[in-house]
Symmetry: C2
DNA sequence: CGCCGTCTTGCGTAAACCCGCAGCTTGTTG
DNA sequence: CAACAAGCTGCGGGTTTACGCAAGACGGCG
């Protein structure tokens, strides 16, 4: 058995290396990549079926890399190992995991024990292992309670990118008014109307900009989500 | 000599611990904190004069912590050790360093050697050591070439927070029109007018929102900068 | 001191945005 | 099938933005 480790940070990389050796005696080879691009290439060359992947790497982030890897070989097992459980990441990951694929999401703050368990469960037993904290987000995100619909999230991204209502309408094939409806829905859920109890009418917010910031502060959005969205936008712009 | 290490990640923390021991034989005690809040407390209790500080920690980030520490004891020497050289961080740090204080900014990607050298230079020789890459940003940021004025940066933050023109005017004691002037200046510098060469008039951007995103993608802003700005905003709102 | 560049401010306009009202299309449920 | 909730869309109007034009204000500088 071969395991590929894709991770920026040399310290974490060698820690992972040890953890893999300790948890998987049946693993005879460990290879390492220090960014997403290299990771993709190695995965292809070695036909890796077992990958431990960091999200958030400078060069090309884990989600991008995982996406192309899964596109080529959907049965690949990937354990995501990340510092954060931002909703943006969680959403990003669950958007790209192929049907029935075995994968995992473990936080870096987890104990050695938990990491090793996750490694065995995913790579040997083909089980999905999702960190409890992350799991919570996923639930909330899928169930509607307090969570955001896909269309709400979509429009959030669109205004975050700086599109006008008209442009959004065109992109999503909606009428202007519908776009604005969704915006209002979004403003509602983000609770963007004034900072709590402040009744001065002068301290008003620009809802559109405020919504984006609030989303950021709540980790609904983060840098990597923006980056991806921007790339998609550019693509769309190309295609007229 | 006593050294205080403030760092989230246990791996990095122990790495730093070793590096300090190796670089500074004159150091007899090393204490560790795993977030900003704990760091501040330990610094106070131990009257630490030598600190290695991570930026970007979950609980309370390094800039906040450094600010309060420096407020109490401005002669404290702090070495910032960070993964990133976002302009937002660099700007954040240089805004809080007291006159004549010895401090350093080293990237985590630097070699062992460089880290050790920096430790000695700052703690023993009271020199400032700024990573070359970071230095570049600082220059650009101070010299006007291609960089952003303080007032431009200020208004960038204000729209990022989601304030209306009117609110900004009030906050910064300007007329509405002046605020809008500065905005235009900002839009200019960020080059927010249409995505390169696209002459379809439909693909237009909402300049205000777009500016924020572009700033984010260029790392002029980041999460921690937003967080701080938001806190300041709330303070201001309190004070009517 | 007069010239000049930078910054501030007011006026005015066209466009974009926020949003209530109301008619329609759907999918769901008893 | 009737009833109802949920989402799409057009209309209309009050606000906010973006920005050209032009008149001061302030700070060098020859």
């Amino acid at each position: 058995m071969k395991v590929l480790i894709v991770e920026d940070d040399p310290l974490h990389r060698s820690y992972l290396h040890e953890a893999v050796n300790a948890a998987l005696p049946e693993c005879d080879t460990v290879i390492e990549a220090e960014n997403g691009t290299a990771g993709e290439k190695l995965a292809r060359d070695h036909k890796s079926a077992h990958i431990v992947m960091d999200l958030q790497m400078a060069n090309r982030n884990g989600i991008e890399a995982a996406r192309t890897i899964w596109k080529e070989r959907p049965e690949t097992r990937i354990l995501f190992w990340s510092n954060y459980s931002d909703e943006a990441y969680v959403r990003g990951v669950s958007r790209i995991v192929p049907d029935g694929a075995a994968y995992g999401y473990v936080l870096k703050s987890a104990s050695d024990e938990r990491l090793k368990l996750a490694l065995r469960s995913i790579f040997i037993e083909s089980q999905c292992v999702i960190d409890r904290e992350v799991r919570g987000l996923q639930q909330k995100s899928l169930g509607q309670t307090n969570g955001f619909t896909d269309s709400e999230y979509e429009i959030l991204v669109d205004i975050a990118l700086g599109l006008t209502d008209r442009a959004i309408a065109k992109r999503r094939s909606l009428s202007l008014r519908s776009v604005q409806n969704r915006l209002q829905q979004l403003y509602d859920k983000l609770d963007v109307y004034q900072s709590a109890g402040d009744d001065h009418e002068d301290g008003r917010f620009n809802l559109r900009a405020r919504a984006v910031t609030v989303a950021f502060l709540r980790k609904l959005l983060n840098y990597s989500a923006l980056e991806r969205a921007e790339a998609e936008l550019q693509e769309w712009l190309e295609g007229k």
